[in-house]
Every structure is written in structure tokens, then in C-alpha cells.
């Protein structure tokens, strides 16, 4: 997604903005640019391609006030002309979001005599601000944005004064306070090097940065007070510490992140789960007749496991919906429905919009998210934080397993409150969960074996991932991981569905990864393996340590430690992540920044 940054202070703005933009690279982008106030003029430099491209093109621009942008093309191709900032007269703008009434504004501004040079929707913001500018940039921004329908986090620079003005609606924006300098950015990580004191902006709020400080306004132009929050993350935690890729570092971090997700939330003596941020009363939990999980991408796959858990343990009918579909599907919801929104970043535009939609039906809402203080967490009544720490690799790894853990905790929590699970069962399950970090380490100890299999099949054109019941979501996730970073075409299937179509695609060149850990469907899974073997496919099985049967039917076995049957999805996740990583690495792919993808999808 696009990233925006802004700086006003006493130091040279260019290196600060470039550094901040580099820290937003993970959001994904295809062009970049910046605008610097040089005395009484604005100097703009922009280019398609990487930030290093921009750096090499940069002339010597002196100035201590500026804005910058990384663009992820939505409207208009990724070209230099379409790159931000966009300029109208004495005003430059950078923008993240989508202007929905672009056409209408475009035609009106044309009539007003404005010339358009790019194909982007952002250019209307520049002309609009120019149209309303009468010496006060804050007023011009407010007036112009009142005309705009859509989403934006936008920053404005005007050659008349040393200020940066920024506003937001439905796209992320934070401001940060320094000594004699102030910053804005799309994401906290861009600013941590300079300041840890940040202010999260909310919809329809405007900030005006100067050297001395910052002032906040609402859309009536009235000043408002905002709270400064202190960030505890280390910027270094966002660096690679010796690993070749963030993704591999984050796969290895799962020993710690799973431990952190569990920390303080289980009592193994009493078999209870403790979730402080869940405020639903016992009666409300007992009265739930339906759960709807809304999520996108990897979070959706986690949600599918959630469905299995909520239904089998807590006895609550559960549906899982893709956020962007849910909104337009005229959902049937009531006051006894719980809507669970799952989003790593807490800024996923579709999921936030779907949550807002759900609230209008009077549902209970709950978010499972990794980042504190985000838009999503303000929209909901209940939160379970996954506490996985910052994740930089575009392919979600540790945040996925932490989402799974959060769903296990929540379903046991509901099951106990609804008296659907006896204390003995919950104790056994919780004890097994407590052992997960050690088991994950055990899988990581065998990473070379997984690497060997990944390399062996990395030349494949197509890959199939098969699983049944609670392994099915992991088959989908494994296929998603593989295709998003290695570009190998991969599909996840419920193993029983094979005969209904995909079996036609299986040939001796097709590797099939079969999730065959112990479960009630194990025998059926073995039959499915025989089916694909009969079509001479190459089969890799993920199986339990003590399974001596499986190697008779498959070409390779990757083993996971023995755990409670319900928990194998967590362990298998680590295996499919390592498989995807090593396949992509063998093919020389840009693992942390796969083509065309962005970390947090803040447009709909």
C-alpha cells in the first residue's frame, strides 16, 4: 500500500524522509517521490521503481521541511508521472487511499480551468486544495476534503509557510513529536528512529506541523486535544539480526511469539483461560447463537480453523466470511451474533468496513489483532491481542500462528463459560498448548530436512496441499504461502474434494503435500494419499513422530512432535512456512517483498 511521510524541523529533510520511506518499503510499492520546501519554492523529485532509484536521481535539495511517498498503484500505471507528490501551483500533496468521487471532481476542476497531467485520483486533491487556498493551508485542506468521498491519509506542503498539514479518513496516519522537529507517517515503524512519542490520528482529523509543535483540528476547524502515546518497540526488533530474510527470522521467532501469545492467559491447574480484554458477560456468552468471522488472506485461513474450534468445542454455529464479500452480501445478523474481525495490522480496510457494517445490526464485536491502538481496535467492544511483535515480511508467519493460538484460547474460554467442555479436557488441552513453544523449536531443529524436500520439488509448476477437517485451513494457508512468495501455482484442497475435479490435474510432475497428522480422519486421509499416488504424483506427508505406517505410501515424510490432536494445525503451519520459504529461496525470489503484494492492505 502507499506510504506517506512528512517532516518539519531544523535538520535536512531529505535524508530523514528517505530513511522513513525505506522503513515503509515493506508495505509494498512501485514508485516513490518527495517534495522539499527550499526557501520560497517547492522542489519535487519522483521516479518509478525502488527508493534507491529515487536516491540516485535526487539533486542536491536543501530544505528542512518536506513530504514523501511510496506509491502502490491502484488508479493509473506505476510511472514517474503518476508517482506522488502531485503539485498544483504552490501546493504539493501525497496521498494514501482512494478518491471515490474522482470523476465528478475531475470534471468540475477541469471546468474551473485546472490542467491534469497524471492518471491518478490524487491529483484532484492537489487542485482542490489550490482552489480553496486563500493563505491558510489548514482551512484549504478542510474545505477541499469536505468535497471528497473515499479514503485518504494525505499530507500537504505549501510554499508560503514552513508547515506540513495532514488529514485522515479510513487510511492510517500517525504523528510523532521530537525536539524542535515533528513528523507524520503512515506507520509507527517509519518514525521510531526519531521519536517514540506518537499520536494516532482518527478519521476527520487534521494536524498542522511546525518546528515548534503540532496543532490538531476537527473538520469544523476547531482545535482538539490529542493524547501522546509512548511506543515500546525497538526499531532494531524490526531488523534482520543475521538472517537473510525477515520471513526466515519471523519463522524462527515463533518459539517466542507463541509463548508470548499464551503468557498469563492459561491456568493449567484450574483449566481456565484468562482473557482480560474480553468484556462479554457470562450471560452474553451463553446466549450467543452464532459467530461470524470476517477476515482477508491469511487471517481468513486462521478464521476457518476458528470455525472448526468454535463449533466443536463451544457448540456455536460459526460462519467465516471474506471481508470484502461480507459487506455487500446483505448479511443476516442479530443481537445474539458475535462478529470476530481478524486483522494482523488492524488497518485492513475491508475488514474495518465490514466491522462497521456489522455494528449497525447491533452485534457483539471482537477483534483479533497484533497492533495496539489501531482503527480496528477502536471499532470493537472486545479485543484479543496476539502479541506476536512487529512482522515485516509480507508473507504472514508468526502472526498467523499467534492468531491460531488466540482462536484456541477464545474457543476454550467460550466452551468453559457455556459448560460445553469439562475441566479435565480443558486442562489437558491447555497443558499441551503450553508445550507448543518447545515443539516448534523441535520442528525448527529439523529445518534442513524440510529444506531438502523444498529444493527437491522447487522446479514444480503446480503444487497441491491436501488436508481434512482442521487440517484443511492449513492446506489453504500452505498453498497461499507457497504461491505468494515462490510464484509456484499452488492450491489447497479438502482431501475429500479431490475426486470432484482437481484429481484431473494430478500427474507425475505434481508434488502433493498431504497433512496427515493423527486425527479422526487419518484413515480417510491415507486413502486420499493412495488416490493421488495411483496417479503417480509425488507425495510429501506431514505426519506424527510415532507414525510408522505413512512412509509406505509416500515419497517423503516430515515429522512433527506428538501433541493434542487439536493442536497439529499450529505445528503443521511451521512446516508449510519453511517449505514455502525454502522453495522461494531456491528459486531466488524476493521473499520479503513479493511482486504486486503489500503487507497491510489499506484500500478496499
Amino acid at each position: 500500500m502507499c506510504g506517506i511521510v512528512g517532516y518539519v524541523g531544523t535538520r535536512q529533510a531529505t535524508p530523514i524522509l528517505i530513511d522513513a520511506l525505506k522503513r515503509l518499503e515493506y508495505r509494498g510499492y512501485d514508485s516513490a517521490g518527495l517534495a522539499i520546501l527550499t526557501g520560497i519554492e517547492i522542489s519535487v523529485c519522483k521516479t518509478e521503481g525502488k527508493i534507491s532509484n529515487l536516491e540516485s536521481k535526487l539533486p542536491q535539495i536543501k530544505g528542512t521541511c518536506g513530504i514523501g511517498h511510496t506509491r502502490w498503484a491502484t488508479q493509473g500505471a506505476p510511472t514517474t508521472i503518476n508517482a506522488h507528490p502531485h503539485v498544483s501551483g504552490n501546493i504539493a500533496v501525497v496521498h494514501n487511499g482512494i478518491i471515490e468521487n474522482y470523476q465528478e471532481l475531475y470534471e468540475w476542476l477541469k471546468e474551473e480551468g485546472y490542467e491534469f497531467v497524471s492518471e491518478t485520483d490524487t491529483e484532484v486533491l492537489a487542485h482542490l486544495a489550490h482552489r480553496y487556498y486563500k493563505g491558510d493551508l489548514v482551512k484549504a485542506v478542510i474545505e477541499s476534503l469536505k468535497k471528497v468521498k473515499g479514503s485518504y491519509a494525505a499530507a500537504y506542503l505549501c510554499s508560503d509557510s514552513k508547515t506540513v498539514v495532514a488529514a485522515r479518513k479510513e487510511s492510517p496516519l500517525v504523528a510523532a513529536v521530537g525536539k524542535g522537529e515533528n513528523f507524520i507517517a503512515s506507520d509507527v515503524t517509519a518514525l521510531l528512529k526519531n521519536s517514540r512519542d506518537v499520536i494516532y490520528m482518527q478519521d476527520f482529523e487534521v494536524v498542522c506541523l511546525t518546528e515548534e509543535g503540532m496543532q490538531f483540528f476537527d473538520f469544523n476547524g476547531d482545535p482538539i486535544q490529542k493524547k501522546i502515546e509512548s511506543i515500546e518497540w525497538n526499531i532494531e526488533a524490526a531488523e534482520k539480526s543475521g538472517y537473510p530474510h525477515f520471513m526466515l527470522k519471523e519463522i524462527h521467532e515463533q518459539v517466542t511469539s507463541v509463548h508470548d501469545t499464551l503468557l498469563g492467559r492459561i491456568s493449567e491447574l484450574s483449566g481456565e483461560v484468562i482473557l482480560d480484554e474480553v468484556t462479554l458477560s457470562n450471560n452474553e456468552i451463553r446466549d450467543l447463537d452464532r459467530i461470524v468471522i470476517i477476515a482477508c488472506g491469511t487471517s481468513y485461513n486462521a478464521g476457518l480453523l476458528g470455525k472448526y474450534l468454535f463449533e466443536s468445542m463451544a457448540g456455536i454455529h460459526t460462519d467465516v466470511e471474506i471481508s470484502s464479500e461480507f459487506r455487500y452480501a446483505n448479511p443476516v445478523l442479530s443481537g445474539s451474533t458475535l462478529v470476530i474481525a481478524i486483522s494482523q495490522s488492524g488497518e485492513t480496510a475491508d475488514t474495518i468496513a465490514a466491522t462497521r457494517e456489522a455494528k449497525t445490526y447491533g452485534c457483539h464485536t471482537l477483534a483479533i489483532t497484533n497492533v495496539v491502538g489501531t482503527t480496528l481496535s477502536r471499532e470493537v467492544q472486545n479485543i484479543v491481542y496476539t502479541r506476536a511483535g512487529p512482522e515485516i515480511g509480507v508473507a504472514a508467519t508468526k502472526t498467523f500462528t499467534s492468531q491460531l493460538i488466540a482462536l484456541y484460547l477464545l474457543s476454550i474460554y467460550f466452551a468453559r463459560k457455556r459448560k460445553k467442555m469439562d475441566v479435565d479436557r480443558s486442562k489437558r488441552l491447555l497443558v499441551s498448548m503450553k508445550q507448543l513453544p518447545g515443539m516448534i523449536q523441535q520442528i525448527l531443529n529439523n529445518k534442513d530436512l524440510i529444506k531438502k524436500q523444498a529444493i527437491r520439488f522447487s522446479k514444480a509448476r503446480d503444487y497441491f496441499f491436501l488436508g481434512r477437517s482442521l487440517n484443511f485451513p492449513i492446506a489453504l494457508e500452505g498453498a497461499l504461502k507457497l504461491k505468494e512468495i515462490s510464484y509456484i501455482h499452488a492450491e489447497g484442497y479438502a482431501a475429500g474434494e479431490l475426486k470432484h475435479g482437481p484429481l484431473a490435474l494430478i500427474s507425475k510432475e505434481t508434488p502433493v503435500l498431504a497433512l496427515a497428522t493423527r486425527s479422526s480422519t487419518y484413515d480417510k486421509m491415507v486413502n486420499n494419499i493412495k488416490e493421488v499416488k495411483a496417479r503417480s504424483a509425488q507425495v510429501i506427508a506431514i505426519a506424527c513422530m510415532d507414525d510408522t505406517e505413512i512412509e509406505k505410501y509416500v515419497d517423503a515424510v516430515i515429522r512433527v512432535p506428538i501433541a493434542d490432536e487439536l493442536l497439529y494445525p499450529v505445528l503443521s503451519s511451521i512446516v508449510v512456512q519453511l517449505l514455502a520459504y525454502n522453495s522461494a529461496d531456491a528459486l531466488g525470489c524476493a521473499i520479503d517483498k513479493p511482486r504486486n503484494l503489500a503487507k497491510s492492505v489499506t484500500v478496499e
Partner: protein, 402 residues
């Protein structure tokens, strides 16, 4: 000034504990040995640290990351093949352009040890030595007129009490000498060979004899001694978590966040207990014991002078003394680790001696109820031991014992 820490080797003599991590990551008082070295350097204001890693490097990188939590800046250099200390040092050449310190990652030191070296170093090469009564297994140095005349690796006879600690201060001139060092009979490039060549060229090589801490845990069971020394020195023991009414805590005991000490438990320090543990009810823990994170110790179990790593469950009514239990073990009730004195322990055909030892257990084992391990016998890694087994010989990796 930069410091270069050699942390690429496995530490074979500490098996089975090193099957899953290298020796530098073995815990003493719940912190890896390497952390003590890094903290000692940081306290002497040496903040630029180069770690030469190889065997199980991910475990080191996962723990230390970029060093920020330890107040230092860490860069990693990968030594692909184990070609000796000189080769490892040479890998850092592009990153060093002034005097630098070299240390082994698997020796316990404190800030005083480093301070002595910095204060006394002179010339292109300075060695840090310590006086030891017993020098078996160590390299020693011979002095002539206050200068080092010879370095002898593991001599059979007692020719000197000055043990080479493997801690050096070098000037960048050392890299040129390393390039001229021939490969040894054992197929490695040893830094001691390089230094010997420098001495033979008539260049003066000095030593400083340290009175600071320097503990080399040669065998896994030597960790118990190191653990007890370090626990005895910790000044501030913080108690977080929950201590239930009726639990008795005597002496210095540290308890980590979210851990619970249940009623009727009796703990005598020095003892450290990590995060997220459940101890008891009615469990006895005696000096000098370190228990890692995420452990559960059930009722009526007694643990004494032992190291229990992370993610370990120990069933009710067990007895563990003078023993080391690796990570992620599940041990059933009524487990007994017999303790013996003056043991001879065979590893790869060579006999080693241990003064007093219970057992050493590697990672990821499933041990059933009522298992007894004879003194000095070890269980490797990934083993399943059925109920009622008497372990009378070492159990190799991935075994199933019925």
C-alpha cells in the same frame, strides 16, 4: 574498540545438551554463557560486537538479535566450515581496522576480566592468562623474562600453571600473520600457531594474568559448578509472579513474571525460576538450582543443585539432584536421578571424570512414570522412555526404550 567472539563450534564434550544448541547457548543461572561475555564487554564500554557463528546459529541470532536488549550492536559473520580459530578471526578482517579483543563464546567471565586486559595490554599481541592448579585439558604458556616464550596445547606434564584463556588483544597486523599460518595436523588453522610464529620471529608477545572470573565448562556437568558460582554472586533477586500463602522462601530466590509458587512449597536460595512456571503445591527446591521459563514442577518433587531448562514438565514425587535437564522434556511422576561420586564417564571411547553427578538429559524426551536413571547415565534427544525403565546405560538420540 570492537570485540570478536568465537561462537561457531558445537562443544562436543557437552553432548547431549549441544545436540540442539551450541555450547555458548547453554544456560547458567537461566542466561546463556555468551550473554555473560556480551554484558561484560558492554560494561567496559565495548559496544561493537562481531559474533562468528556457525553450528546452530539461529539459536544465537534468535536470542541476541541485533544486541539492542543487551546495550550493544551485534554483527554476525558466518563460518561455514569449522577450520579453526585463526580462520574464524580472519573472517572479521573487513570489519576491523584498529586494536580489537578476541574471546571464546563459551567461557564465563565478568567485567573485571575484560577491564584487566584493556588496562594492561601492550604491543601487537596480548594474551590473558589465569593461574590454575589443575591444567589438564588446557593450553598453557611458558614465560621467559616476563615475555611469552612458548604456547603449549594440552601438555601431558605439568610444565606451567599459567593457562591461556583464549582471550586476546590484537592489532590488525594479526591478519597478515594469519594468512601465513599453515594448517595444523588436525586440519585446522589455530590462532595459537599464529602467535607461536610471531614469537619465533622475535616479536614480543605479552600476557596479563587475570584474577577475575574465568570459568571453562569443559563437560556438561561442569555447568553445575558454574551455575552454583554465578547464583551465589547474583545481588538482586526479584520476585514477580504469585507466591501463595503457605509457601516458604528462604534466602535469595528470583521468580519470573507470571510464575506461581503454590502453597506448601519450600524453596531455599540461591534459586532462580523463570517466567510462566508452575511450582507445586508442596514442592521442594534447594540450592543451587536454576529453572527456566514455562516449566511445571508437580507436587512432592525435590530438586537440588540442578539446571532445568525451558519448557520442562516434571511429574509428582520425583527426585532430581546434581543433574541437568534440557528443554522441552516431559518427565512422568516418580522419576529418580541417582547421584554418584567420582564417576568415570565414557564419551567416544575416552574416560572423563565427574566428581558428583546425577544425570544429563538432552532436549525433547518423553519419559514415562517411575523411571530411574543410574548415576552418570545420560538420555540424548528425542527419546521415548517407557514407564518403569531403569536406565543403566546411555540412551542414544531418537531411541525408544521399552
Amino acid at each position: 574498540m570492537k570485540a570478536l567472539i568465537l561462537a561457531a563450534g558445537e562443544g562436543l564434550r557437552c553432548r547431549p545438551l549441544t545436540l540442539a544448541r551450541s555450547k555458548v547457548m547453554l544456560p547458567v543461572a537461566n542466561k546463556p554463557i555468551l550473554e555473560y561475555i556480551i554484558r561484560a564487554l558492554a560494561q567496559n564500554d565495548i559496544k561493537e560486537i562481531i559474533l562468528v557463528v556457525g553450528y546452530k546459529k539461529e539459536r544465537i541470532m534468535d536470542y541476541f538479535r541485533d544486541g539492542i536488549d543487551f546495550g550493544v550492536n551485534i554483527s554476525y559473520v558466518n563460518q561455514e566450515a569449522q577450520l579453526g580459530t585463526a580462520h574464524a578471526i580472519n573472517l572479521a578482517e573487513p570489519m576491523v581496522n584498529e586494536k580489537f579483543i578476541v574471546l571464546n563464546g563459551d567461557n564465563l567471565i565478568d567485567e573485571g576480566t575484560i577491564a584487566e586486559l584493556i588496562k594492561g595490554a601492550s604491543g601487537d599481541v596480548t594474551l590473558l592468562t589465569v593461574m590454575r592448579e589443575q591444567t589438564t585439558g588446557y593450553g598453557v604458556v611458558l614465560l621467559e623474562k616476563g615475555k611469552i616464550s612458548k604456547i603449549v596445547e594440552k601438555p601431558r606434564d605439568k610444565i606451567s600453571h599459567l593457562v591461556n584463556t583464549g582471550i586476546y588483544m590484537f592489532s590488525p597486523a594479526i591478519f597478515g600473520e594469519i594468512d601465513n599460518t599453515p594448517i595444523s595436523e588436525t586440519g585446522e588453522y589455530a590462532i595459537t600457531d599464529t602467535i607461536q610464529r610471531i614469537i619465533e620471529q622475535g616479536v614480543s608477545v605479552t600476557n596479563i594474568t587475570s584474577r577475575g572470573t574465568w570459568i571453562d565448562a569443559i563437560h556438561s556437568w561442569d555447568l553445575l559448578k558454574a551455575n552454583s558460582v554465578v547464583l551465589g554472586k547474583i545481588e538482586e533477586m526479584k520476585k514477580r509472579g504469585v507466591i501463595e500463602k503457605g509457601a516458604v522462601i528462604i534466602g535469595d530466590v528470583a521468580i519470573g513474571y507470571n510464575s506461581a509458587i503454590r502453597s506448601g512449597s519450600y524453596i531455599v536460595g540461591p534459586v532462580v525460576i523463570g517466567k510462566n512456571c508452575n511450582i507445586g503445591p508442596n514442592t521442594t527446591i534447594l540450592p543451587s538450582t536454576a529453572i527456566g521459563d514455562n516449566c511445571s514442577i508437580s507436587s512432592f518433587t525435590e530438586i537440588e543443585n540442578s539446571i532445568i531448562m525451558n519448557d520442562v514438565r516434571i511429574g509428582a514425587g520425583s527426585y532430581i539432584s546434581n543433574s541437568i535437564i534440557g528443554s522441552n522434556n516431559s518427565i512422568g511422576p516418580h522419576f529418580i536421578a541417582e547421584v554418584g561420586k567420582d564417576l568415570k564417564i565414557e564419551m567416544k571411547g575416552i574416560l572423563h571424570s565427574a566428581d558428583e553427578l546425577g544425570t544429563v538429559i538432552g532436549d525433547n524426551n518423553q519419559i514415562g512414570p517411575c523411571v530411574l536413571v543410574r548415576a552418570g547415565k545420560m538420555i540424548a534427544m528425542g527419546c521415548a522412555v517407557d514407564s518403569g525403565v531403569r536406565v543403566t546405560k546411555d540412551i542414544p538420540k531418537d531411541s525408544r526404550v521399552l
